[in-house]
Amino acid sequence: MFIRSDDKISTSQTSIFLTNTVLGAGILTLPRSVTNVVQTPDAWISVLLGGVMIILLAILMVKLSQQFPSNTVFQYSKRIVGTIPAAVLCLLLIIYFIIIAGFEARVMAEVTLFYLLEGTPVWAIIISFIWVGAYLIFGGINSIARVYQIVFPISILILLLSYFLSVRIFDIDHLRPFLGEGILPVIKGLKSTILIFTGFEVIMNLVAHMQHPEQAVKAVVTGISIPIVLYLLTVVMVIGGLSTDGVLRSTWPTLDLLRSFEVAGLFFERFEFPFLVIWLMQMFCNFISFYFNASLGISQVFGLKAPSVFFGLMPLIFLTSMIPKRINDVFNLGDAIGVMGIIMFVLIPGMLSVIYIIRKKGLKQDV
């Protein structure tokens, strides 16, 4: 077929979709939130360990999803636990996605207000963001994945370049002592590192949209490894550049790192500018993922038409994003999302797989 009518994405597109879903607000806040808990320079070990755990969890989700080919979690959950419990679970997941979407939009607006558009009303920023997002979402998962493919290489390039340039203020001593206070702080930090990977739940929907669902594990491993590496780099470079004390003092440590040195001879003075540009694009991708998955869920659970769901979610996401009153509320919401993420995980892939295994293996039922 020359003109494709199926709305499927390739394996590499799935990886990039996942990367762009996970890689978002965390780049700016991760160093502070982890260091806050860990209190030692070993935060990067937490990130690494947390990432590995996330990969394992994601693989579990993939395995569960692969049992139900071309069904999203919203569709197969009712085959496992029955219609009503499944509807409750799906509703929770949808609310979770909507809250994250609102949160991402708000964080984006806060950073934009702080660095780029002082004095502009928040609603103007968020509404325009939602509108552009909605325009893309109408194109379906294929268009979304293709935009990700354009944004992703640009982001990676600028991100790596900015970390490369910040090598000049990198001081390895800031990362020492290695495990100075033992492994315990690292374990404590795991909680906040898992939070930054929130959003990888979308894989439960992506598998259904893959052209080759059998390659989903590969897609997940690459799709989550890339953010792990980037987050690791972020933590190492930011703590190495600013020291733990410096990180704890700033609201957006990564941007402060890039503001602390000048690049001579370019059209912009500090590397914070291109970084902000790609970060905005990254946040857009992030936001789109949750917006799309939430609308997918609503349309599948309630049997509504996709365009009306896209429209209906616009004011909902806007209201969600306007709920936090101050920036601290935003950060608290972020922490709450992390906790919700863990609960979601226990409920959805965790409980579902256990019930599935019991029904399949124990009771020999045909699910």
Binding site: L117, F138, I150, R270, D329
Partner: protein, 556 residues
């Protein structure tokens, strides 16, 4: 409990936020539905006309036939088209046989000396010699065969009985011959169409490369294409388009390369076209494109046969229309608009560098004024201090905000360019002096715009000139204004949103099923060798993946 409740209530947004939420919903719905109704209106218009016409044309096709009687047949033709001043009826007596004959033709469309020597002379004088052997003319049905075989030394000759057919052939420049006793008419063609000679394509000039361009005659254009190289796989299918004035249209493709589904789709869209007259291939382009509301063109027009042939070899399809030197290539992708045939004629290093330069120029043509506005009016802190100071110093005394300043200059430049195209050639350079030098210089001195902005706008204009496809340049020029508005309202953030909006639009856009920004996305690594890079020719072993061709390899 109560404190928790009050805390919860305190987080409920106030009514202004709800109002804004309502607007968030309302405005996109209005925009979406107005666009949708616009779209369906255009679509409907197309289909209703089609239906009306199909009933109409069915009545016409059952044309009447010639009666077979010499006098009444000629009279019939006279009634139908005899009112035209340029239709001539030349009556004469055929020498030797002494039967009446009439030659009907349109003045100016045939070579007169050919009619004299090859028809009239033979029939009036040479036939006499013939008649001595035969004594009498052959009977009714054999007469036309006899004429064709023995008397008329004309290459294109056929018998016609249908009156409508006959009238049309005469008006199109054929010569009709009636002879007493012959039941049908003989139609001969001795065309003498005045055409211009083949010249260098003016819209796509090259330093190095063939100097040949298409002309307005379809048969010449197809011949030029055939002459590009010998192959039996170049296939051309003829269509008749236009409901009122009919014209020929040729779809050309390589039959063992092109994707057959694509070919089917193109043919289907062409046969669905419905228009009374096709003045230029632009009509075809607009009637077969996927998205009418997109600012991006979905067919590439070119005057260069070499460009058409290389596109055919990539598995694309060319559409040639009679009466225009512009051929149409479909499907088109964004990267094609920034490629020039010269990239391939020069060595690969300059080809690659030029191509990267063009991508940069296209980006600048789109974004430079938006970036200027967002830096100057929103974030002067992000550019180096010295630069910011010098720009701000230069802007002192400019009474307008940067957005208005930019719009003033950009719009006046567009007017200048538009005026430059329309003016007669000798005045053109004067225009450049008046517009470019005097207005630019004077507006800076008058303090309406800052000199730095003049640099930015001029740079943008030159960048948009460097795009090889003129129509792609127009697209970028239009979008530039949108970008300026975004930057003017939301600064750098607005510029990023604008970029994302364009990306979203481009990824949604398809030209005959090929995503517009292939191979960037969907990512096709094999096609990247002909994107920003122009890989050395030996490396270009395969045809583009995106075209899903029948033959993948370029080499045996």
């Amino acid at each position: 409990m109560i404190s928790m409740w009050s805390q919860f209530v305190s987080y409920i947004p106030d009514w202004t936020t709800f109002m804004q939420a309502g607007l968030t919903l309302l405005i996109p719905i209005i925009i979406c539905y107005s666009f949708r109704s616009l779209h369906s209106m255009i679509k409907e218009q197309n289909s209703t006309e089609k239906r009306a016409l199909s009933t109409d044309s069915s009545g016409e096709t059952s044309g009447s036939k010639l009666a077979g009687d010499y006098k009444s047949d000629v009279e019939l033709i006279k009634q139908a088209i005899g009112n035209n001043c340029d239709v001539h009826f030349r009556e004469f007596i055929m020498g030797g046989y002494e039967v009446g004959a009439t030659l009907i033709f349109v003045a100016g469309m045939q070579a007169a000396e050919h009619i004299n020597t090859q028809v009239l002379q033979i029939l009036m004088m040479n036939a006499e010699k013939d008649s001595k052997d035969n004594k009498s003319l052959p009977s009714n049905s054999e007469l036309s065969a006899y004429m064709k075989q023995k008397l008329l030394p004309v290459c294109e000759i056929k018998e016609v009985v249908d009156i409508r057919d006959l009238n049309q052939s005469i008006l199109n420049g054929h010569i009709a011959l009636f002879i007493e006793g012959m039941p049908n008419a003989l139609v001969m063609s001795m065309p003498n169409e005045k055409t211009r000679s083949i010249t260098e394509p003016t819209s796509e000039a090259l330093i190095r490369g063939p100097r040949i361009g298409f002309t307005e005659v379809l048969s010449e254009n197809t011949a030029i294409l055939r002459r590009q190289g010998r192959t039996e796989n170049l296939e051309m299918t003829m269509y008749e388009v236009g409901n009122y004035l009919k014209r020929n249209l040729v779809v050309a493709y390589m039959k063992d390369i092109v994707n057959l589904d694509l070919l089917e789709e193109v043919k289907q869209r062409i046969s669905k076209m419905d228009m009374d007259y096709f003045a230029e291939s632009g009509y075809v382009e607009q009637l077969i494109e996927d998205n009418i509301l997109s600012p991006f063109q979905q067919g590439q027009n070119t005057e260069r046969p070499d460009r058409v042939i290389s596109a055919l070899l990539e598995g694309r399809i060319a559409i040639l229309l009679d009466g225009t030197p512009f051929a149409l290539i479909v499907p088109v992708t964004f990267s094609m608009l920034l490629q020039s045939p010269e990239d391939y004629y020069e060595r690969w290093i300059p080809g690659t560098l030029l191509r990267i330069l063009r991508f940069f120029a296209a980006f600048m043509a789109l974004m430079a004024p938006a970036l200027y506005i967002s830096f100057i009016s929103f974030h002067p802190g992000l550019i180096p201090t010295e630069l910011a100071i010098s720009i701000i110093e230069a802007r002192q005394g400019v009474p307008f905000p940067a957005t208005i300043e930019g719009l003033i200059l950009a719009i006046s430049l567009e007017i200048l360019r538009e005026a430059g195209i329309r003016l007669p050639k000798p005045i053109g350079p004067a225009m450049g002096i008046v517009g470019g030098l005097i207005i630019g210089e004077a507006s800076v001195q008058a303090g309406i715009v800052s000199p730095f902005l003049v640099i930015v706008v001029a740079f943008t204009a030159i960048s948009s000139f460097s795009i090889p496809m003129f129509s792609a340049g127009i697209t970028l020029r239009i979008l530039r204004f949108v970008g300026m508005l975004f930057a003017g309202t939301l600064g750098m953030y607005g510029t990023v949103l604008f970029f994302l909006l364009i990306c979203s639009h481009l990824t949604k856009l398809k030209s005959f099923g090929v995503p517009y920004v292939t191979p960037i996305s969907p990512f096709r690594i094999n096609d990247w060798k002909d994107l920003f890079l122009r890989a050395p020719l030996p490396l270009m072993k395969q045809r583009p993946d995106m075209m899903k061709t029948q033959q993948k390899k370029r080499r045996s």
